[in-house]
Subunit: 372 residues, 2 copies
Amino acid sequence: MKFLVKKEDLYNGIKIVERATSMKALQPVLLNIYIETTENSSIKLVATDLDFTVITEVDAQIEEQGKITLPSKTLNEIVSKLGNKLIEFESEDETKVKIKCQNSKFEILGISANEFPQDSLKIELNEDNGFEIEMKPFVKAVRQAGFAAAGYEVSNLLSGIVCTFSDELLEIASTDGNRLARVREKISNKEQQTTQLIIPSRTLNEFIKMSAFLEDENIKIFTEKTRIIIKTEKTMTVSRLLEGQFPKYNQLIPSESPKKAVVNVAQMSSALERAAIMVNEKTYIVKLEFSNNSLTMSADTPEAGKSEEKIDIDYTSEDLTIAFNYKYVLEALKNIEAEEVEIGLNTPLSATIFTPATEDDFVCLIMPVQIR
Amino acid sequence: MKFLVKKEDLYNGIKIVERATSMKALQPVLLNIYIETTENSSIKLVATDLDFTVITEVDAQIEEQGKITLPSKTLNEIVSKLGNKLIEFESEDETKVKIKCQNSKFEILGISANEFPQDSLKIELNEDNGFEIEMKPFVKAVRQAGFAAAGYEVSNLLSGIVCTFSDELLEIASTDGNRLARVREKISNKEQQTTQLIIPSRTLNEFIKMSAFLEDENIKIFTEKTRIIIKTEKTMTVSRLLEGQFPKYNQLIPSESPKKAVVNVAQMSSALERAAIMVNEKTYIVKLEFSNNSLTMSADTPEAGKSEEKIDIDYTSEDLTIAFNYKYVLEALKNIEAEEVEIGLNTPLSATIFTPATEDDFVCLIMPVQIR
């Protein structure tokens, strides 16, 4: 194997695939990046943790065909520290590669490409089965409404983010049972029937990070048995899908709230952060008192002390005291891209709705906590 | 107790004393900051871990005298998150304080001031015993030549930084037995005999960090039995001194080296960092080969691979191969404030000297490692 590659191109390729290298290496080869020359003046990079695979192509000048796997960490370190020049890779046998760049020389030991999970290398797509959407609104929507998913547990549907692709609308939602986030974005997806996919949140979170290194305008989504493949021009992200009946979350969101408050987002966030200094670190409960154009937020921990923060808001309904895990409220506020949030209230035990006081179609629902 | 204090002033005061709060709290009160009103429109803040104490004064408007100790972490968090306004502190009893600032209210539980180590509060100085020097050159010199001290071990002299204050010269040095750093700075210290003090490196490292919050031009240094007190207008840093005979380090530094190389510092640092990617993480050994205007740096680890970096340098003596813990070399280079470093060599087992290729009076000596 022998090829020449631009540092910048290779660095970008490594940044894209490395997200799939295994964290805890059951097999040492899963810590490695698979590198193979292709027939089209490029090299193919692959990383996988068996659940999740990323494959990308990087332009290269091939002098001799071949393949190998190299430790992701070492490769990353070397490439990131080299000057912005051409890098030469040359291997004489299937476990060793020589890397040269200007006055730098390395010899790294890898693992034979034959030990890499061969299933991860063969992704066959039926081009007709996919549908194309714009990448930016997809990434934005996942970032905004994917945070409420439950922690990563293999068998739990709630650890997924539910994505509904329909005619001209993309709906992304997630819920961990205590809170729910949903966003709707207009997209252009002309040829498409409605498809609902439950994608593991880890896959989408890694895809969001990876997308910073992708230059594509569109992504194409394929499903194949229980897998999803997100394809851009040079990159494929492959992940299992979650299967089952996701809760009918839209039914949980009340269309009208009997009481409404309009609150400045920045003011509420910073006051809530201060109030939370005194929060009980077992419960994270902060109490919110809505009363005659004012909101009082308070917390206390018997052995440490108390806090109380008061801000002016728009609220003219009858007084209401309600308590939340303050982290849920802060996270909802963080995802509201407007100056003001509209808080839809009902009783101290009803689901509470946080929406931007604009046209944006984003909603975060939080279940309150019973106090005393 | 009741007083009003500007947020900015109090924040600054907390940042100064908090460096002395104990990390591992043998006594809970050592996690707290002692606060006491004074007669001169100020409050006194004190923190100590028993070895190391910092006392500072902060301007305040006193309405009722009193004292208390409050948890450093909570106090810091509250004050840093409050707006830039007047903060009111009021306590009704000796373990509880109410804090108010605009629409924020807190009630924090503290520990009675009587439980705070009373020895740390009484520092009596004989103003005649001190000597004054400029703070900036002192901080700069400690930063440049204090890094070579041994790790913090109570009974080891080498964990100290040796400071020699003489007529118009300040000399700072440290060594851990494998390397040595020494710097000389001109200072104005007219009335002074030569004094040599071995100050725990922790004390000076904390003092350096703290100095960012001190506005003073000069510091005054007092010694009192086995303690040192570094005094500025409003702050006192008190620490034990190390006692014993520090190695006569100046005798270890050769005045002339038979072989000399002149090397670009930035070039050498980045090439060395790249070579070190393949370093054996048990030994950190990088081999340096000086030969006819070139320097080759190489490392290898049997199970991972090899690296080799070559740079152009000025070197016309006979070829020499020498090996070092590369971290020591990088740290020496980092403290050379010149474009080029002069490396003074002798044999592969002789102490090697790194000095700036300028007039700066800084020297770092590193002992090589025997290879093969």
